[in-house]
Protein backbone atom coordinates (compact mmCIF):
# COMPACT_ATOMS: atom_id res chain seq x y z
CA UNK A 1 0.00 0.00 0.00
CA UNK A 2 1.33 3.41 -0.94
CA UNK A 3 2.13 5.73 1.96
CA UNK A 4 0.88 9.29 2.30
CA UNK A 5 2.15 11.65 -0.38
CA UNK A 6 4.35 14.39 1.06
CA UNK A 7 5.88 17.32 -0.77
CA UNK A 8 9.02 18.80 0.73
CA UNK A 9 9.16 22.41 -0.40
CA UNK A 10 12.31 22.90 -2.45
CA UNK A 11 13.27 26.56 -2.44
CA UNK A 12 17.05 26.27 -2.12
CA UNK A 13 17.33 25.83 1.63
CA UNK A 14 20.38 23.92 2.93
CA UNK A 15 20.39 20.17 3.42
CA UNK A 16 16.89 18.94 2.54
CA UNK A 17 17.94 15.48 1.40
CA UNK A 18 17.84 14.37 5.02
CA UNK A 19 14.24 15.53 5.43
CA UNK A 20 13.26 13.66 2.27
CA UNK A 21 15.01 10.46 3.33
CA UNK A 22 13.74 10.58 6.91
CA UNK A 23 10.15 10.91 5.66
CA UNK A 24 10.65 8.07 3.19
CA UNK A 25 12.14 6.01 6.01
CA UNK A 26 8.84 6.24 7.91
CA UNK A 27 6.75 5.37 4.88
CA UNK A 28 5.93 8.57 3.02
CA UNK A 29 6.05 8.93 -0.75
CA UNK A 30 8.09 12.09 -1.02
CA UNK A 31 8.33 14.67 -3.79
CA UNK A 32 10.90 17.44 -3.61
CA UNK A 33 9.31 20.35 -5.44
CA UNK A 34 8.31 23.99 -5.57
CA UNK A 35 5.57 23.52 -8.15
CA UNK A 36 2.11 24.77 -7.23
CA UNK A 37 0.50 21.48 -8.19
CA UNK A 38 2.80 19.43 -5.93
CA UNK A 39 2.29 21.87 -3.07
CA UNK A 40 -1.48 21.86 -3.51
CA UNK A 41 -2.09 18.17 -4.04
CA UNK A 42 0.19 16.53 -1.49
CA UNK A 43 -1.40 14.94 1.57
CA UNK A 44 1.20 16.81 3.61
CA UNK A 45 3.56 19.70 2.91
CA UNK A 46 6.89 20.08 4.72
CA UNK A 47 8.46 23.53 4.88
CA UNK A 48 12.14 23.13 5.79
CA UNK A 49 14.46 26.06 6.47
CA UNK A 50 17.90 26.91 7.77
CA UNK A 51 19.87 30.13 7.99
CA UNK A 52 18.52 33.62 8.45
CA UNK A 53 14.81 34.38 8.93
CA UNK A 54 14.91 37.22 6.41
CA UNK A 55 16.57 35.18 3.68
CA UNK A 56 14.24 32.22 4.21
CA UNK A 57 11.18 34.54 3.95
CA UNK A 58 12.63 36.07 0.80
CA UNK A 59 13.32 32.67 -0.74
CA UNK A 60 9.78 31.52 0.09
CA UNK A 61 8.41 34.68 -1.56
CA UNK A 62 10.60 34.16 -4.60
CA UNK A 63 8.93 30.82 -5.30
CA UNK A 64 5.47 32.20 -4.47
CA UNK A 65 5.06 29.77 -1.58
CA UNK A 66 3.20 32.09 0.82
CA UNK A 67 -0.25 32.08 -0.82
CA UNK A 68 0.01 28.36 -1.61
CA UNK A 69 0.81 27.51 2.00
CA UNK A 70 -1.94 29.85 3.18
CA UNK A 71 -4.48 28.16 0.92
CA UNK A 72 -3.51 24.71 2.23
CA UNK A 73 -3.99 25.87 5.82
CA UNK A 74 -7.31 27.51 5.02
CA UNK A 75 -8.43 24.26 3.42
CA UNK A 76 -7.42 22.20 6.44
CA UNK A 77 -4.57 20.50 4.54
CA UNK A 78 -1.61 19.54 6.75
CA UNK A 79 1.62 21.56 6.75
CA UNK A 80 4.71 20.89 8.88
CA UNK A 81 7.36 23.60 9.35
CA UNK A 82 10.88 22.69 10.48
CA UNK A 83 13.44 25.01 12.14
CA UNK A 84 13.31 28.36 10.30
CA UNK A 85 10.35 26.80 8.46
CA UNK A 86 8.73 26.79 11.93
CA UNK A 87 9.75 30.35 12.78
CA UNK A 88 8.25 31.89 9.63
CA UNK A 89 4.70 31.09 10.82
CA UNK A 90 5.02 33.64 13.62
CA UNK A 91 4.42 37.37 13.21
CA UNK A 92 7.98 38.52 12.72
CA UNK A 93 11.66 37.81 13.10
CA UNK A 94 14.25 40.24 14.48
CA UNK A 95 17.88 39.76 13.46
CA UNK A 96 20.56 42.35 14.13
CA UNK A 97 17.83 44.91 14.84
CA UNK A 98 16.10 44.34 11.50
CA UNK A 99 12.46 43.24 11.65
CA UNK A 100 11.10 40.93 8.96
CA UNK A 101 7.43 40.03 8.71
CA UNK A 102 6.55 36.33 8.92
CA UNK A 103 3.34 34.63 7.77
CA UNK A 104 1.66 35.68 11.01
CA UNK A 105 -0.33 32.51 11.62
CA UNK A 106 0.59 32.86 15.29
CA UNK A 107 1.43 35.83 17.51
CA UNK A 108 5.02 36.19 18.62
CA UNK A 109 8.44 37.44 17.62
CA UNK A 110 11.44 35.30 16.74
CA UNK A 111 14.30 36.81 18.73
CA UNK A 112 17.87 35.95 19.64
CA UNK A 113 18.22 33.47 22.48
CA UNK A 114 19.63 34.89 25.67
CA UNK A 115 21.89 32.09 26.90
CA UNK A 116 25.55 31.72 27.87
CA UNK A 117 26.20 29.55 24.79
CA UNK A 118 24.54 30.34 21.44
CA UNK A 119 23.72 28.72 18.99
CA UNK A 120 21.64 26.26 20.97
CA UNK A 121 23.11 23.17 19.38
CA UNK A 122 22.41 19.62 20.41
CA UNK A 123 19.89 17.22 21.91
CA UNK A 124 17.39 18.73 24.32
CA UNK A 125 14.25 17.65 26.10
CA UNK A 126 10.85 19.24 25.57
CA UNK A 127 7.85 19.97 27.74
CA UNK A 128 5.28 18.44 25.40
CA UNK A 129 1.83 19.99 25.17
CA UNK A 130 -0.79 17.87 26.95
CA UNK A 131 -2.47 15.58 24.45
CA UNK A 132 0.07 16.37 21.71
CA UNK A 133 -0.26 14.10 18.69
CA UNK A 134 3.23 14.88 17.38
CA UNK A 135 4.89 13.89 20.65
CA UNK A 136 2.65 10.92 21.46
CA UNK A 137 4.85 8.19 22.94
CA UNK A 138 8.04 10.29 22.73
CA UNK A 139 7.29 12.98 25.31
CA UNK A 140 10.43 12.17 27.28
CA UNK A 141 12.85 11.94 24.36
CA UNK A 142 15.54 14.41 23.29
CA UNK A 143 15.47 16.13 19.90
CA UNK A 144 18.25 17.79 17.91
CA UNK A 145 18.17 21.60 17.93
CA UNK A 146 20.37 24.02 15.97
CA UNK A 147 19.29 27.65 16.23
CA UNK A 148 20.19 31.03 17.67
CA UNK A 149 16.69 32.54 17.52
CA UNK A 150 13.34 31.45 18.90
CA UNK A 151 9.94 32.66 20.08
CA UNK A 152 10.22 33.16 23.81
CA UNK A 153 6.86 34.79 24.60
CA UNK A 154 3.45 33.39 23.79
CA UNK A 155 0.49 35.74 24.09
CA UNK A 156 -2.35 33.94 22.45
CA UNK A 157 -5.71 35.51 23.28
CA UNK A 158 -7.27 32.61 25.17
CA UNK A 159 -10.56 34.37 25.75
CA UNK A 160 -11.82 33.85 22.21
CA UNK A 161 -14.92 31.70 22.34
CA UNK A 162 -15.30 28.85 19.87
CA UNK A 163 -11.61 28.81 19.06
CA UNK A 164 -9.30 25.99 20.02
CA UNK A 165 -5.99 27.56 21.00
CA UNK A 166 -2.87 26.12 19.40
CA UNK A 167 -1.12 23.61 21.63
CA UNK A 168 2.38 24.69 22.45
CA UNK A 169 5.41 22.57 23.36
CA UNK A 170 8.24 24.33 25.16
CA UNK A 171 11.96 23.74 25.58
CA UNK A 172 14.60 25.63 27.48
CA UNK A 173 17.99 27.08 26.62
CA UNK A 174 18.84 30.11 28.73
CA UNK A 175 15.13 30.86 28.80
CA UNK A 176 12.02 28.98 27.76
CA UNK A 177 11.18 29.05 24.07
CA UNK A 178 8.59 27.48 21.79
CA UNK A 179 9.81 24.10 20.52
CA UNK A 180 6.65 23.14 18.63
CA UNK A 181 3.13 24.32 17.85
CA UNK A 182 0.19 22.16 16.78
CA UNK A 183 -2.72 24.11 15.40
CA UNK A 184 -5.26 22.22 13.31
CA UNK A 185 -3.63 21.50 9.94
CA UNK A 186 -0.54 23.56 10.75
CA UNK A 187 2.26 22.09 12.86
CA UNK A 188 5.78 23.36 13.27
CA UNK A 189 8.88 22.30 15.19
CA UNK A 190 11.95 24.34 16.05
CA UNK A 191 14.21 21.28 16.15
CA UNK A 192 15.17 18.93 13.32
CA UNK A 193 13.13 15.71 13.48
CA UNK A 194 15.00 14.46 10.41
CA UNK A 195 18.23 14.64 12.46
CA UNK A 196 16.78 13.39 15.74
CA UNK A 197 17.36 9.67 15.27
CA UNK A 198 14.61 7.28 16.36
CA UNK A 199 12.69 9.93 18.31
CA UNK A 200 12.61 12.19 15.27
CA UNK A 201 11.49 9.33 13.05
CA UNK A 202 8.64 8.63 15.46
CA UNK A 203 7.60 12.30 15.41
CA UNK A 204 7.52 12.26 11.61
CA UNK A 205 5.54 9.01 11.70
CA UNK A 206 3.11 10.61 14.16
CA UNK A 207 2.69 13.54 11.76
CA UNK A 208 2.13 11.19 8.81
CA UNK A 209 -0.53 9.55 10.96
CA UNK A 210 -2.46 12.83 11.04
CA UNK A 211 -2.58 13.11 7.23
CA UNK A 212 -5.83 12.39 5.49
Amino acid sequence: MAGPRVTVLDYGSGNIRSAVRALEHVGAEVTLSKDAKDIREADGLVVPGVGAFASVMQALKDVGAGPLIGRRIAGGRPVLGICVGHQVFFEEGVEHGIRTAGFGEWPGTVERLDAPVVPHMGWNTVDAAPGSRLFAGIEGERFYFVHSYAVQKWDFPVAQPRMTPPSVTWAEHGSRFIAAVENGPLSAVQFHPEKSGEAGAQLLANWLGTLA
Partner: protein
Protein backbone atom coordinates in the same frame (compact mmCIF):
# COMPACT_ATOMS: atom_id res chain seq x y z
CA UNK B 1 15.93 20.66 31.13
CA UNK B 2 19.15 21.44 29.43
CA UNK B 3 20.97 20.49 26.28
CA UNK B 4 22.92 17.23 26.49
CA UNK B 5 26.69 17.06 26.20
CA UNK B 6 27.33 15.66 22.74
CA UNK B 7 29.65 12.69 22.23
CA UNK B 8 31.03 12.61 18.69
CA UNK B 9 33.16 9.91 17.06
CA UNK B 10 35.40 11.12 14.25
CA UNK B 11 36.27 8.96 11.25
CA UNK B 12 39.22 9.72 8.97
CA UNK B 13 38.19 8.95 5.41
CA UNK B 14 40.65 8.54 2.54
CA UNK B 15 39.26 8.08 -0.96
CA UNK B 16 36.02 6.72 0.48
CA UNK B 17 37.61 4.34 2.97
CA UNK B 18 38.12 4.69 6.71
CA UNK B 19 41.81 5.03 7.48
CA UNK B 20 43.42 2.93 10.19
CA UNK B 21 40.30 0.80 10.39
CA UNK B 22 37.98 0.36 13.28
CA UNK B 23 38.07 -2.57 15.61
CA UNK B 24 34.40 -3.46 16.04
CA UNK B 25 33.23 -6.99 16.29
CA UNK B 26 30.89 -8.24 13.64
CA UNK B 27 31.56 -5.61 11.03
CA UNK B 28 31.48 -6.96 7.53
CA UNK B 29 33.76 -4.23 6.31
CA UNK B 30 35.76 -2.25 8.88
CA UNK B 31 36.77 0.24 6.22
CA UNK B 32 33.28 1.19 5.09
CA UNK B 33 32.40 4.61 6.54
CA UNK B 34 28.69 4.12 5.93
CA UNK B 35 28.56 0.87 7.89
CA UNK B 36 30.58 2.44 10.69
CA UNK B 37 28.32 5.48 10.76
CA UNK B 38 25.31 3.19 11.16
CA UNK B 39 27.04 1.30 13.93
CA UNK B 40 27.97 4.47 15.81
CA UNK B 41 24.42 5.73 15.44
CA UNK B 42 23.14 2.46 16.89
CA UNK B 43 25.43 2.65 19.93
CA UNK B 44 24.44 6.20 20.85
CA UNK B 45 26.69 8.68 19.02
CA UNK B 46 25.07 12.12 19.14
CA UNK B 47 26.67 13.30 15.91
CA UNK B 48 29.22 12.03 13.43
CA UNK B 49 32.26 13.73 11.96
CA UNK B 50 34.07 12.65 8.81
CA UNK B 51 37.50 14.08 8.24
CA UNK B 52 38.41 13.75 4.58
CA UNK B 53 42.13 13.11 4.45
CA UNK B 54 42.16 12.31 0.74
CA UNK B 55 45.40 13.70 -0.60
CA UNK B 56 44.41 13.90 -4.24
CA UNK B 57 41.54 16.19 -5.10
CA UNK B 58 40.72 13.84 -7.96
CA UNK B 59 39.58 11.27 -5.44
CA UNK B 60 37.38 13.71 -3.55
CA UNK B 61 34.30 12.65 -5.47
CA UNK B 62 34.29 9.43 -3.46
CA UNK B 63 33.91 11.50 -0.29
CA UNK B 64 30.74 13.07 -1.64
CA UNK B 65 29.41 9.59 -2.39
CA UNK B 66 30.16 8.52 1.17
CA UNK B 67 28.44 11.62 2.58
CA UNK B 68 25.45 11.04 0.33
CA UNK B 69 25.00 7.41 1.32
CA UNK B 70 25.56 8.12 5.01
CA UNK B 71 23.03 10.94 5.07
CA UNK B 72 20.48 8.66 3.45
CA UNK B 73 20.84 6.00 6.11
CA UNK B 74 21.80 7.71 9.34
CA UNK B 75 19.49 10.32 10.85
CA UNK B 76 21.82 12.18 13.18
CA UNK B 77 23.89 15.27 12.36
CA UNK B 78 26.89 14.80 10.11
CA UNK B 79 29.86 17.17 9.94
CA UNK B 80 32.43 16.86 7.19
CA UNK B 81 35.87 18.48 7.24
CA UNK B 82 39.06 18.30 5.24
CA UNK B 83 39.70 20.18 2.04
CA UNK B 84 37.00 22.82 2.65
CA UNK B 85 38.32 26.07 1.17
CA UNK B 86 35.33 28.05 -0.06
CA UNK B 87 31.59 28.63 0.15
CA UNK B 88 31.22 26.51 -2.98
CA UNK B 89 32.95 23.60 -1.23
CA UNK B 90 30.46 23.95 1.63
CA UNK B 91 27.60 24.08 -0.85
CA UNK B 92 28.67 20.77 -2.40
CA UNK B 93 28.88 19.10 1.01
CA UNK B 94 25.47 20.38 2.08
CA UNK B 95 23.95 19.24 -1.19
CA UNK B 96 25.47 15.81 -0.67
CA UNK B 97 23.71 15.64 2.72
CA UNK B 98 26.19 17.02 5.27
CA UNK B 99 24.68 19.24 7.97
CA UNK B 100 27.87 21.09 8.80
CA UNK B 101 31.27 21.65 7.28
CA UNK B 102 34.44 22.22 9.24
CA UNK B 103 37.18 24.49 8.03
CA UNK B 104 40.74 24.78 9.26
CA UNK B 105 43.80 25.81 7.23
CA UNK B 106 41.80 27.67 4.59
CA UNK B 107 40.32 29.98 7.25
CA UNK B 108 43.75 30.67 8.75
CA UNK B 109 45.05 31.54 5.27
CA UNK B 110 42.06 33.68 4.38
CA UNK B 111 39.76 34.57 7.33
CA UNK B 112 37.21 36.31 5.06
CA UNK B 113 36.06 32.87 3.91
CA UNK B 114 34.25 32.52 7.25
CA UNK B 115 31.87 35.39 6.45
CA UNK B 116 31.50 34.24 2.87
CA UNK B 117 30.24 30.89 4.12
CA UNK B 118 28.10 32.05 7.04
CA UNK B 119 26.43 34.81 5.02
CA UNK B 120 25.36 32.28 2.45
CA UNK B 121 24.36 29.35 4.63
CA UNK B 122 24.07 30.67 8.20
CA UNK B 123 26.36 30.21 11.19
CA UNK B 124 25.01 26.79 12.03
CA UNK B 125 26.71 25.11 9.06
CA UNK B 126 30.25 26.16 9.90
CA UNK B 127 32.58 24.59 12.43
CA UNK B 128 35.97 26.21 12.85
CA UNK B 129 38.53 23.53 13.51
CA UNK B 130 41.46 24.87 15.55
CA UNK B 131 44.55 22.70 15.96
CA UNK B 132 46.42 24.42 18.76
CA UNK B 133 49.61 23.74 20.69
CA UNK B 134 51.30 25.24 23.70
CA UNK B 135 53.95 27.82 22.95
CA UNK B 136 56.36 29.95 24.94
CA UNK B 137 56.50 32.58 22.21
CA UNK B 138 55.98 35.90 24.06
CA UNK B 139 54.00 37.29 21.12
CA UNK B 140 51.19 34.81 21.88
CA UNK B 141 49.27 36.20 24.89
CA UNK B 142 47.33 33.01 25.62
CA UNK B 143 50.35 30.71 25.29
CA UNK B 144 48.52 28.65 22.65
CA UNK B 145 49.42 28.79 18.98
CA UNK B 146 47.28 27.88 15.98
CA UNK B 147 48.86 25.26 13.75
CA UNK B 148 47.91 24.15 10.25
CA UNK B 149 48.48 21.09 8.09
CA UNK B 150 47.56 18.68 10.85
CA UNK B 151 49.68 20.33 13.50
CA UNK B 152 52.89 20.30 11.52
CA UNK B 153 53.07 24.02 10.75
CA UNK B 154 52.95 26.85 13.28
CA UNK B 155 50.97 29.89 12.13
CA UNK B 156 52.31 32.42 14.63
CA UNK B 157 48.69 33.22 15.50
CA UNK B 158 47.29 33.18 19.03
CA UNK B 159 44.72 30.38 19.32
CA UNK B 160 42.39 32.15 21.75
CA UNK B 161 42.43 35.36 19.69
CA UNK B 162 41.74 33.33 16.57
CA UNK B 163 38.79 31.59 18.18
CA UNK B 164 37.35 34.94 19.27
CA UNK B 165 37.84 36.46 15.83
CA UNK B 166 36.20 33.48 14.11
CA UNK B 167 33.26 33.51 16.54
CA UNK B 168 32.79 37.23 15.87
CA UNK B 169 32.98 36.40 12.18
CA UNK B 170 30.06 34.03 12.53
CA UNK B 171 31.29 30.45 12.94
CA UNK B 172 28.63 28.41 14.71
CA UNK B 173 30.98 26.19 16.69
CA UNK B 174 34.63 25.69 17.49
CA UNK B 175 36.29 22.29 17.34
CA UNK B 176 39.30 22.73 19.59
CA UNK B 177 41.96 20.11 19.14
CA UNK B 178 45.06 20.02 21.30
CA UNK B 179 48.02 18.96 19.19
CA UNK B 180 50.06 18.32 22.34
CA UNK B 181 47.44 16.07 23.92
CA UNK B 182 46.42 14.36 20.68
CA UNK B 183 47.49 10.73 20.70
CA UNK B 184 48.75 10.77 24.31
CA UNK B 185 45.60 9.17 25.78
CA UNK B 186 46.40 11.15 28.95
CA UNK B 187 43.42 13.47 28.95
CA UNK B 188 42.28 16.75 27.40
CA UNK B 189 44.18 20.01 27.65
CA UNK B 190 41.67 21.56 30.03
CA UNK B 191 43.56 24.85 30.33
CA UNK B 192 43.26 25.36 26.60
CA UNK B 193 39.52 24.60 26.70
CA UNK B 194 39.01 27.02 29.60
CA UNK B 195 40.98 29.77 27.83
CA UNK B 196 38.84 29.50 24.69
CA UNK B 197 35.64 29.16 26.75
CA UNK B 198 36.40 32.50 28.40
CA UNK B 199 36.76 34.13 24.97
CA UNK B 200 33.75 32.85 22.99
CA UNK B 201 30.09 32.04 23.54
CA UNK B 202 29.62 29.61 20.65
CA UNK B 203 29.67 25.90 21.47
CA UNK B 204 33.09 24.28 21.93
CA UNK B 205 33.82 20.71 20.86
CA UNK B 206 36.89 19.49 22.75
CA UNK B 207 39.26 17.05 21.10
CA UNK B 208 42.65 15.50 21.69
CA UNK B 209 43.96 13.30 24.46
CA UNK B 210 40.95 11.16 25.43
CA UNK B 211 42.20 7.79 26.66
CA UNK B 212 39.50 6.73 29.14
CA UNK B 213 35.90 7.61 30.01
CA UNK B 214 37.17 9.34 33.15
CA UNK B 215 38.97 11.95 31.03
CA UNK B 216 35.78 13.45 29.62
CA UNK B 217 34.16 15.20 32.61
CA UNK B 218 37.19 17.48 33.05
CA UNK B 219 36.83 18.77 29.49
CA UNK B 220 33.18 19.58 30.18
CA UNK B 221 34.00 21.23 33.50
CA UNK B 222 36.48 23.41 31.60
CA UNK B 223 33.70 24.55 29.29
CA UNK B 224 33.28 22.05 26.46
CA UNK B 225 29.74 21.55 25.14
CA UNK B 226 30.70 18.48 23.15
CA UNK B 227 33.56 16.01 22.99
CA UNK B 228 35.07 14.45 19.89
CA UNK B 229 37.43 11.50 19.75
CA UNK B 230 38.61 8.84 17.35
CA UNK B 231 40.76 5.99 18.58
CA UNK B 232 39.09 5.54 21.99
CA UNK B 233 35.88 4.74 20.12
CA UNK B 234 37.37 2.90 17.16
CA UNK B 235 39.58 0.58 19.15
CA UNK B 236 37.79 0.47 22.49
CA UNK B 237 35.01 -1.89 23.48
CA UNK B 238 31.84 -1.57 21.45
CA UNK B 239 30.01 0.10 24.34
CA UNK B 240 32.66 2.81 24.77
CA UNK B 241 30.25 5.60 23.84
CA UNK B 242 27.87 4.41 26.54
CA UNK B 243 30.74 4.23 29.05
CA UNK B 244 31.82 7.78 28.19
CA UNK B 245 28.26 9.00 28.56
CA UNK B 246 27.95 7.21 31.89
CA UNK B 247 31.10 8.95 33.15
CA UNK B 248 29.75 12.31 32.00
CA UNK B 249 26.40 11.62 33.63
CA UNK B 250 27.98 10.56 36.91
CA UNK B 251 29.86 13.85 36.95
CA UNK B 252 26.50 15.60 36.90
CA UNK B 253 26.12 16.64 33.25
CA UNK B 254 23.17 15.75 31.03
CA UNK B 255 23.58 13.17 28.26
CA UNK B 256 21.18 11.69 25.75
Amino acid sequence: MSVAIRVIPCLDVDAGRVVKGVNFEGLRDAGDPVELAKRYNAVGADELTFLDVTASSGNRETTFDVVRTTAEEVFIPLTVGGGVRSADDVDRLLRAGADKASINTAAVDRPEVIREITHRFGSQVLVLSVDARRSTDPSLPSGFEVTTHGGRTGSGRDAVEWAREAADGGVGEILLNSIDADGTKEGFDVEMIAAVRAAVNVPIIASGGAGAPGHFPAAIAAGADAVLAASIFHFGPVDMIARVKQAIKEAGYPVR
